[in-house]
Symmetry: C3
């Protein structure tokens, strides 16, 4: 495998401790160029141990240093030179930014891009090869539109927002500041709205807004509908994983996490800080309270209270659901007890009706 | 938020009534530029009330007028000037077309498009920037191919069909008239077909057709395979939501609705007028009868009768399934009754075997 | 429907038998241009019968010849001229390659492609219209990059690999030899990784690798994340269907099949020869043993042993799960037996406590 960072920056353990507010164990002069999983670490690497389940890998670890939480810092195996921090993932945010400074790739406004004369592109925005910017659209300072992105008419894109390649933004969408949209996502798509006219499905024009607030990140190949009337809205700071579907007029609250392949049907409104597990589905017109947690693959067909954790289909309180499923797996035992009782009863009380075949 | 329609057409209530065959309550001269949800309506807006669950919002509604069904027309709160119609969504089809006339954006055949000399593009078709049209392909009158679409060889696209940007159509696919394909969908993709040869998966060439009939709408980021041999077919007037997967040789009947993130595996044949709920999956080689309804997230592993409604995994009759799941949630009670019986029996019939631990 | 092969090669039954090692029944001079399903076959077609469920269609079959396995070769109806083979799908691999030779479309390096001066493109590689190749990337001999693909910086693409149109490959990804990536897939996407810093989700830079080994095929609109640190890896010879999500640091073993719309969360490691059914989900940090089979729509939340077959949510041993679900559907019967016992008991043992309402 190529190692893109082979010629990149190097950090010492002391420098890393200073940057993260962490504590050095052993030699602060230990040096590393990369941070990698324990089982991958070589002599120029710092190994990351953030989860106890990877502790057994320490035995084979060849890294120059170890990055670990207080809880895991005392383990015997592995590199003796260590950076101990409160939250290794938080430390990663800092350290990886130092080791992997942002790419210098900068197409400026590439001559092959097609920018409508009535579009406004800030002098410090970048537009990649073959991108298309529609009439009346506005790109703020520091915006980067990737190659082959297509931005419709009257789209607003705020400062510092990054669109990876091959993204489509439909007309009239609004993207805030520091938004990241990964490759192939579609923003402001027509929702799934039809009226039955003369026995056929007639398209209800989809004319509402699609608002992506500040600091949202959207994964690859997502589809986010515009409102039919009114708006679809993704709240500030929320993060969507890959292949997520957001129907028309949905509101995702602020600071929420929506894991891969989730689908949210039209007009459902979610509070702030909601977490939706992978492949979960939420039907339309529901209210999901702030801080609710929806389990992976859950099928939500009724409102969820703030702070509630739900699982399964139809989604119910998580513990109740797991308990019920555990009982289901032991149903055979129930049936056996039933048969035993029926036999006892038949023996003790002649004439009492015996059971049928095993359910 | 930008308001794209701020300078658009204005309608009076009387004009709206005439266009829809509705009935005016109050002042027919009330004017509106937009139709919006009740909770969003301002003084230039008509508020839409199509669902009783939004009736409480009427108290705060600042709209100039209300669009409501006969059933909801008599509610006391909200705007007194009203348009009362049989089906508000049908009225929306008419009114939104008047308020939001089709965009005038027209790239013609953009000079950056790459059109093979052996392709035939009708004089009234439009091809967006950076689109590619392969050899032997034909675009009918009024076809609009969005920016960065890639159309393979020998593709036929019928009159009035619209491809949003970044769509791919593989070789040999046939799209009928007035088809709409949203951004990022892939039509005529190789199916998932392999034969085990010498212990490895050898690709079976995928050479069948992919036929999208008239008036079909396909959402964003869908993937529709071509036939392996034979054809995949989406019947006339059917509508697919975002992120739908249609395997090779599948037939979707006419006038069907396939909600977001549904997957249909190879060679399954669906009748007309089928409705498939979001995230449902249907395995291969099944027959789904006309008018069947498949619940959201259902996992269908056997044929479904015409008109049948199924739910759950493995999918079964909807009512039976819900009843069974309700019983599951009360299994704890069954176990308690069992224990009670065992105790009674043990007391009454000394020597009868008592139950074990709770299942 | 257009028939792309109307003017293509023609085979006789004898030629087909020679190419496949099969056995001719009847006239070896029977000729065909296409291989199609039994119900589609016309006078220039060979009908394929690989599955007994399509045997009834033989009655109406108008094909010139039949391709069948030994087991099905003796059926009475249908064409009398037959090619009998051990494995019809294996025969298809050979015969379809003869009937449908690879398309001659060859853009070479299209003048509209944007290739960074520091990219290395082999003289026998093809780059489609509007494709973009980033700095430091390398395309081997016979590589074909489709129209509007965007290849980031420092990407390696091995000999004979084919990217269909509108694909995105992020920086630093490595694709082996003879890989096929279908339209709209995204390789090397940033994973879903955040640390909570000052109460908000801060992005953990995603700097790991994404390695697609030799002979992998990836369907349309998939999203495959790069490692956060360390690498994501798709093992040699594995095949992914459409709309699959692979999280960061996931390892898919060699020779595996991952059906449409599957999602695998971060850091899960799968052995070789695993089969994952459509829409199944696997949570993060698990080990899936070699040869495991995961049922369609299964939700896997714990490790799976090598060779184990699991189903349902939470996924369990397949047979156990189906048995439990069958019992669930007959829970009503259990309750009735319980009531009967309670009545007998109440009659026989006065004072014993009767049951409550039906659970």
């Amino acid at each position: 495998m190529t190692d893109p960072s082979a010629s990149g920056p190097v950090l010492t353990l002391s420098e890393a401790a200073e940057a993260t507010g962490g504590r050095v164990v052993g030699d602060g002069r230990a040096r590393f160029r990369r941070i990698v999983p324990v089982f991958d670490a070589g002599p120029e690497d710092m190994a990351l141990l953030a989860d106890r389940r990877y502790a057994p890998d320490l035995k084979e670890c060849g890294g120059a240093a170890l990055l670990a939480s207080e809880t895991l810092a005392g383990l015997e195996d592995g590199p003796v030179d260590r950076l101990v921090v409160r939250d290794p993932h938080e430390a990663l945010v800092t350290l990886l930014a130092l080791l992997h400074p942002a790419s210098e790739e900068d197409w400026g406004v590439h001559p092959s891009a097609v920018i409508h004369p009535e579009a406004v592109v800030h002098g410090e925005a970048a537009v990649g090869p073959h991108a298309v910017i529609g009439a009346g659209s506005t790109l703020g300072r520091g915006v980067r539109v990737g190659a082959s992105c297509v931005i419709g008419e009257r789209v607003e894109i705020g400062e510092g927002t990054i669109l990876f390649p091959n993204v489509t933004v439909y007309a009239d969408a609004v993207l805030g500041r520091r938004v990241i949209v990964h490759a192939g996502s579609r923003i402001g798509v027509d929702g799934f709205g039809y009226a039955v006219v003369d026995g056929a499905h007639a398209k209800v024009p989809q004319v509402g807004g699609c608002v992506i607030e500040d600091d949202v990140e959207i994964g690859a190949n997502c589809a986010i509908d515009r409102g039919s009337i009114g708006s679809t809205r993704i709240g500030a700071g929320s993060k969507l994983d890959n292949l997520v579907h957001i129907g028309h007029n949905v509101v995702v609250g602020r600071g929420s996490l929506v894991v891969a392949q989730v689908g949210v049907a039209g007009s459902t409104r979610m509070g702030d800080g909601v977490v939706v597990g992978g492949q979960a589905g939420i039907v339309g017109h529901l209210k999901i309270g702030a801080g609710a947690r929806i389990g992976a693959q859950a099928g939500v067909i009724s409102d969820v209270e703030p702070g509630q954790t739900v699982s399964g289909y139809p989604a119910r309180d998580h513990r109740t659901y797991l308990k019920a499923m555990a009982r289901v797996m032991r149903l055979g035992e129930v049936v056996k007890r039933l048969e035993r009782i029926e036999r006892s009863l038949a023996a003790a009380v002649p004439g009492s009706s015996p059971g049928d075949s095993e359910p």
